[in-house]
Amino acid sequence: MFIFIKIGYKNLFRNKRRSVLTSIVIGLGLASMIITDGFMDGMSENMVKTITTGMVTEGQVHNPLFSDSFDAKDVIMEKDKVEKILSNDAQVENYAKRVISFAMLSSARNMRNITVYGVDPEKEKQVTTTYKYVSEGKYVEDEQSLLVGSLLLERLEVELGDKVVLTVAEAHSGELSQVLLRISGVLTAGSKEMDENAAFIHIKKAQSIFNIGQNYHEIAIKFRDRSVGEQETYPLWAQLNHTGNKGESWKGIVASFTEIMGMVDQSKGIMAFILMLLVGVGIVNTLFMSIYERMFEFAVLRALGTKSREIIIMVMSEAGAMAVMSVVLGLIITVILALPLGLSGIDYGGMEFADVTIREPIFYEFHWSQITSFPVATFMFTVLISIYPAYHAAKVTMAQAIKKTL
């Protein structure tokens, strides 16, 4: 067996330029797969971070009716029990209560339908980074605070410090309730949804104007380890559901995003398949060129008593040696291309994808499979695809091949 592998390996270096060029092509294919995977994962992680550090957070609890109706009267049930469950769960790092409902915000010149968030500022800062996107003024600090989105500010034709009227329907009576507030902060989250339609007030103020006492509509959760909360089978969710409320991770809340990311993963697979197919055609072409030049040699080997399967091993060894060289070159190309981009990141400057704003540069996301599974897959693919030309070489017609060399 060793002699066939040796001949195969040595044959690779008979036409060094061709072998190196082919290896570069395969290596580029591998590098493309690794870099695409790294940046796609980086983009995915970036977007997940945007979601989980934004208002969605890593998990939420609601009254199931609230999720459908957004009605102010559908507050969280058995709130003390729910808070006890959350406080007792070792994986829950922090949680924040929120009052949420539709409202109308009017200025002297204009009015807009909005979503008003009543937040506990200190708790909120422990579960989201929304406060970091205050572009003017201050984040919600007290019951007089009103933080509005920057686009909402434009629509209402007001400025920081101007007075506006917040109108809501009381939770149970449905009576309109109004409160005059001065704009104390402007939010520029980079998301059209937030910047155009959201306003933040203190939770106590919200509870007061909606007339819901100490109740609230949502609990936003931050886990010590995000991946724990992502598990549907994590016991916390069942415990919360037993209270009559619905607890779910961010994956369930933004299910459309999860589906889109699943499709992105599929696209990545299809792209890798097409890429490997193109590389595969290149490999087959190169091996055929190399084999056609040496048909007489295969005929001689057969004449000396070498069996067909031994010729196949020989050609596959040649492809294997080429694959090893390609993998090494591919990893070098990956480092050369991915390292600078990985360090600086790719800035998409607020581009929205799947309803999520990419706020920060996308960095290369490394995981071990990129330098284990991908190279192994490339090696296996190269060796497997060489079976076709190898079979062709093994089926050489000796009399004809030898005659052609005379």
């Binding site: 007489f296 004449a303 008593g305 070498t306 069996k307 009399a399």
Partner: protein
Amino acid sequence: MENNNEVIFKLNDIGKVFGTTSDTQVHALSDVQLEIKQGEFTAFVGPSGSGKSTLINVMNGFDVPTSGHVLLSGKKIDLMGESELANFRRDHIGIIFQSYNLIPVLTAKENIEYVMILQGIGEEERSKRVKEFLSIVGLEGKEDRYPSQLSGGQQQRVAVARAMVSRPDIVIADEPTANLDSKTGTELVDMMLELNNKYGTTFVFSTHDPMIMEKAKRLVTLKDGKVVQDEVR
């Protein structure tokens, strides 16, 4: 070694037709009846197109006859399957090609021991035989050279060593001196003759060269695919 007159190769009514339609058919061999005895040094001679190479190809199993049977050591090689024929050729037939056809990526030593590796012979025995045959063909000290580092005559000597080192029943060569100058060609045939005399190895080869023909102990003349003369000297 003595010639024990045992018939080792038998060609029974061999016919070989190339082409499929009556217009294109060429009868390369017709009713060839031939026996090769152990220890013979036989040359196939005849003009171009007489069927020498076709006969050689049929004898070493490269080509299958259209009619008749080829028997080596009592076995019909034309009826063997691919794998069986590969093994049989490896163990019983030594082949020398006109263009040397050494494996370019292997050294002289590795080329010589290749067939022995296929036969599963151990390294120690292989080294012993390689050393012996390098000495016989006069290439001591050149065992680590690649074919490209050897002259044509030296390459053909390696090819002779490769054909003989596995101790085959017969060595078949298709115009082994055609690519060599007359001096080197004569030296090569002298060496083959010496091996024939010393080891009793049976040689069958085709040639155009009258000087080489002179050295053959048996001369089989072909014309239009038929044996027209069989002269034992």
